[in-house]
């Protein structure tokens, strides 16, 4: 799936993979690729400014955590982030239903004029 198709949904994807618990940048990238079974072509560098933006908006919080000899910045959802994720899911569901009804030639019964 092309990167430009993913771009508009990046915030929702990042919030969704952080729902189970805190992750650092590379783990977030890996989670997106794992969940999409490699179908989503993310330019992986673009998630770092996106994570910073979501943190500025108060949807994520972050902290440095030690992992072996290295320190990594880990992100987790805030309450506002969970609320926004729920909104993203609803919007996505409505969007796919609307696009599906246009693309699918089988019109619902009684819809024809």
């Amino acid at each position: 799936m092309r990167a430009d198709m993913v771009r508009g949904h990046l915030d929702g994807l990042l919030l969704a993979v952080l729902e189970p618990g805190p992750l650092h940048g590379y783990a977030i990238i890996a989670a997106v690729q794992h969940r999409s079974r490699g179908a989503l072509e993310l330019r992986t560098g673009t998630i770092y400014p996106a994570l910073n933006r979501l943190e500025r908006l108060g949807l994520l919080s972050s902290s440095w955590q030690s992992s072996g000899e290295r320190r990594r910045r880990c992100y987790e959802l805030t309450d506002a982030g969970r609320h926004t994720l729920a909104g993203e899911r609803t919007a996505w569901s409505e969007f796919t239903t609307a696009i599906g009804s246009v693309l699918n030639p089988a019109a619902p019964p009684g819809f024809a004029t």
């Binding site: 650092h24 330019r43 673009t46 910073n52 108060g58």
Partner: protein, 223 residues
């Protein structure tokens, strides 16, 4: 690792180019660069674990990350907003000092034969007015680029507006410094006015530097 081999490392070259291209508050820029370096290092490690040679793994990691042309605009956008917030915070915190300085200048030596001349009092009112307006704009910027940005898009020209608001406030602070320095020479209670002048000078230094950085960031292309 020798200097020659470090130069040949695609990851280090990428990070060096990114560091040279991006502008913004030093701490936030350093944090962003460090995270990106960590991400690249993790990607390289994942590839080398799969049996790839380091050089090839590093090239692959950089390719997957995206070109600088793809990455820089979104990174610079965040840094420009961070710089605008930094400048707005500096203005919001220091502008009240300017008002306080002029209040001191106005009230000091009240019972003495010498008082601030009429021109200086008018100047004080105008500078305090500039400081108040700048502080209000700064507070609005902090709100607009923070949680409010979840619902309202950030105007594209906002960082430039903040940069010029900061510049205006810093000029007002410089004028206040000169006026307070002059007044302290004439006043009986000169230590108080000299202190107020020093406070205005310090505020000017902080705001002017941040506003200059904000003007630079606002001119850079960002998405």
């Amino acid at each position: 690792m020798s200097a020659t081999s470090r130069q040949a490392d695609p990851v280090e070259d990428y990070i060096a180019a990114l560091t040279a291209t991006l502008h913004g508050p030093a701490r936030i820029k350093a944090r962003l660069i460090e995270e990106i370096r960590d991400g690249l290092a993790d990607t390289v490690t994942a590839h080398t674990r799969e049996g790839m040679a380091y050089q090839r793994a590093a090239h692959q990691a950089v390719e997957e990350f995206g070109t600088l042309d793809e990455l820089v605009p979104s990174c610079q956008r965040e840094l420009t907003i961070a710089q605008a917030r930094h400048t707005a915070r500096a203005v919001a915190l220091t502008a009240p000092f300017l008002v306080a300085c002029w209040y001191l200048a106005w009230t000091t030596d009240h019972d003495q034969p010498w008082q601030l001349p009429r021109t200086a009092q008018l100047l004080a009112v105008h500078l305090a007015g500039v400081a108040c307006v700048a502080a209000l704009l700064a507070a609005a910027t902090l709100a607009a680029t923070g949680t409010l940005a979840r619902w309202l898009p950030i105007p594209h020209q906002l960082p430039l507006a903040v940069a010029w608001t900061g510049t205006t406030a810093s000029v007002a602070m410089a004028v206040a410094t000169l006026a307070l320095a002059t007044a302290s020479v004439l006043a009986t209670n000169w230590p108080l006015l000299a202190f107020a002048g020093a406070l205005a000078a310090a505020s000017h230094a902080v705001v002017a530097a941040s506003a200059r950085a904000c003007r630079r960031c606002a001119r850079l292309p960002a998405t």
